[in-house]
Symmetry: C2
Subunit: 385 residues, 2 copies
């Protein structure tokens, strides 16, 4: 096992009817900004519940934080917070609203150009406005980690940052708040969580026994509930499990002490930046090809994945690896998520431009072993046509 | 899944050579009390390493916190801290030293008789002196939770308390610090961790998919490494996995949102209080009998345990349950830990007195369903003769 530090102070308040508990968790004398995305938070009643819980407090609102939140929009929130001297943020939504809120929290008191928060990957952050979250879309894990991905619309850049100052103080996870989610978002969330686990698991053996077992447990659970979630949207039990699994998939736990990959995410980010494909859908395109192209480097873990996750015991090693990758692909497709670039009418002539984007963003040595060069990324994209 | 809150702000610093990092994690201007147990911390070099890391700070020491730490001893530490105006505690040792330090931390500024901390189960605690830990004996999970068990020597009472104020600020987990542990303590630690997981898992189905998978993952790992740990004491990899698994077994995670039992622990505490049997060894005596006596209430989870943990698929339901319990027993025995009261020459004539102790401590309705009455406890002890 590798040496590691694990620290995660976010308080999770989980279950039916827990939104009302905001009254306890938001400081009484706080000047609060509620941040949200589109009309759904209003329509499904979550915002009304949040407002009711905070009645009597000083509360402002900032809506319109769209998927793949942009620096430009977020800076308008920063200006509003400074102008109104607000001192507590409450993100109501999914990963985009929470990621956006993290950036805003770090930017409000940042000395200098806040874009540096992203170009320094968060290293320059020394404080942040405290914030909590009310999660309505399980997928990114942002509700219990200190990471954030922000897009600059102007330059089509999608950059990540992390800082111990941007852990949410608390996150309210009420599964009933997810029951009105469109199926497309549920399916996306399942794939996103699945690939989060894979990025921390499918590398090379590092002797992290609990980490491997936990990762496998999350994958097995997602495989079990994925198709049922998409078919049966009103099951509290399924929604509750999905919500907690998606949080555990990226809260630092399963990745502590083991190598991590993230090449699939980085290449996926370029697809989103260029074609505006949903984040999760880019992962479903890139991951199977990545596993095929990188099968030698990942051989031992692919065999473990085949055995423990897909229960594949028959055939040669290579047959089991092929079968495990095919099953991964079939799982994504069973959720209605395509696994090929062609599904988005992206052809071979686009690949050079995507690789040029990777190069421009310095993404020239990706993966757990930094062996995913631009050349390898090119091959991965070709294999995904 | 049940509603739950999960909160665990302890920072884990894990790996080879991490003791030196104490210098970063103990506040520079703190007046520190190092607390430890017997001679082993001195002999194996851990104390020397701790002292070196804190060189230049104001540091006092308090040794002699024995297994099953007593109120009487701990109150002497409280007096020393008050007299010397110390403001940061550093527990160096295993669960006993850490549990003792938690009580001390809560008692220093407690207004009233500190014994009330235990009789109120911690509800009366409103603050605590901050503390960190350097773990030398994986077993109890105390290094990453807010619970503590204390004994009153005078009355032979063993009582537990918990409070969010007694989470360690940080815990240093350096597996190399465990390489000189006596085999008896390693074996005890494996059993202790194993039963911690069982208490949070083997109850009734509550639809906590990730919780179940995580619990099963920890049990599978302990079964895999237990015998090797006892045979091969110098493997860093085994020690590291054991250390992290023991922490994960009782840091609140696997028990969040699911029912918990703890009847085995409560009955075990009476065995320790009366006969001074090592804590883990009492669990190995009580658990198999508890599972036999409670097999109907635990039927569904026993079947799941048989299948997923022991890979038992053949035979009738009852045969699989019998086999799973027998395998659990055999696992403990394989570590050199007896599973019968007779191994400690405790006979049937002692059972009434033990049940009277349980009654005196108000332990009349134990277990996930409060169905373990004094009568059931009597039967469990009889079945363990």
């Amino acid at each position: 096992m590798q040496n590691f530090e694990f620290y995660n102070p976010t308080r999770i308040i989980f279950g039916k009817g827990t939104t009302a508990s905001l009254a306890e968790h938001v400081p009484v004398d706080a000047r609060v900004l509620i941040l949200y995305g589109g009309a759904s938070a209003e329509k499904n009643g979550t915002l009304a519940e949040v407002r009711a819980a905070l009645q009597g407090r000083t509360v402002r609102e900032f809506g319109g934080i769209a998927p793949n939140p942009t620096y430009e929009t977020l800076m308008r929130a920063v200006a509003a917070i400074r102008a109104d001297k607000l001192d507590f943020l409450l993100a109501v939504g999914g990963g985009s609203v929470i990621d956006g809120t993290k950036f805003i929290a770090a930017a409000v008191d940042y000395e200098g150009d806040p874009w540096e928060i992203l170009t320094s990957s968060g290293a320059n952050v020394t404080r942040a406005v405290p914030f909590g979250t009310v999660l309505t879309l399980p997928a990114t894990g942002s509700e219990m980690n200190s990471f954030s991905v922000i897009t600059r619309a102007q330059t089509r850049e999608k950059l990540a940052f992390g800082s111990p100052y941007v852990f949410p103080r608390f996150s309210v996870l009420d599964p009933t708040r997810t029951c009105s989610l469109p199926l497309r978002q549920v399916a996306n969330g399942v794939v996103d969580s699945f690939v989060h686990v894979i990025e921390q698991y499918l590398t090379y053996p590092a002797g992290g026994m609990a980490q491997d077992r936990f990762a496998e447990g999350l994958l097995l659970s997602l495989i079990e509930i994925g198709p049922r979630l998409v078919a049966q949207t009103d099951s509290y039990d399924l929604r509750a499990n999905f919500m907690w699994i998606a949080t555990l998939a990226l809260n630092g736990l399963i990745g502590a002490g083991v190598p991590q990959d993230w090449a699939t995410h980085v290449i996926g980010h370029e697809l989103t930046a260029r074609y505006d494909i949903d984040h999760a859908r880019t992962l479903a395109i890139v991951l199977p090809s990545m596993l095929r192209v990188r099968r030698e480097a990942k051989r031992d873990k692919l065999l473990q994945y085949a055995q423990r996750v897909w229960n594949l015991h028959a055939g040669s090693e290579d047959e089991r690896i092929d079968a495990a990758i095919a099953k991964t692909e079939a799982f994504f497709e069973s959720l209605g998520i395509p696994t090929r670039l062609s599904a988005y009418t992206i052809g071979a002539d686009e690949i050079d431009a995507l690789v040029t984007q990777l190069e421009a963003h310095g993404m020239t040595a990706l993966g757990e072993d930094q062996a995913v060069t631009l050349d390898i990324s090119h091959r991965v994209l070709e294999a995904a046509l």
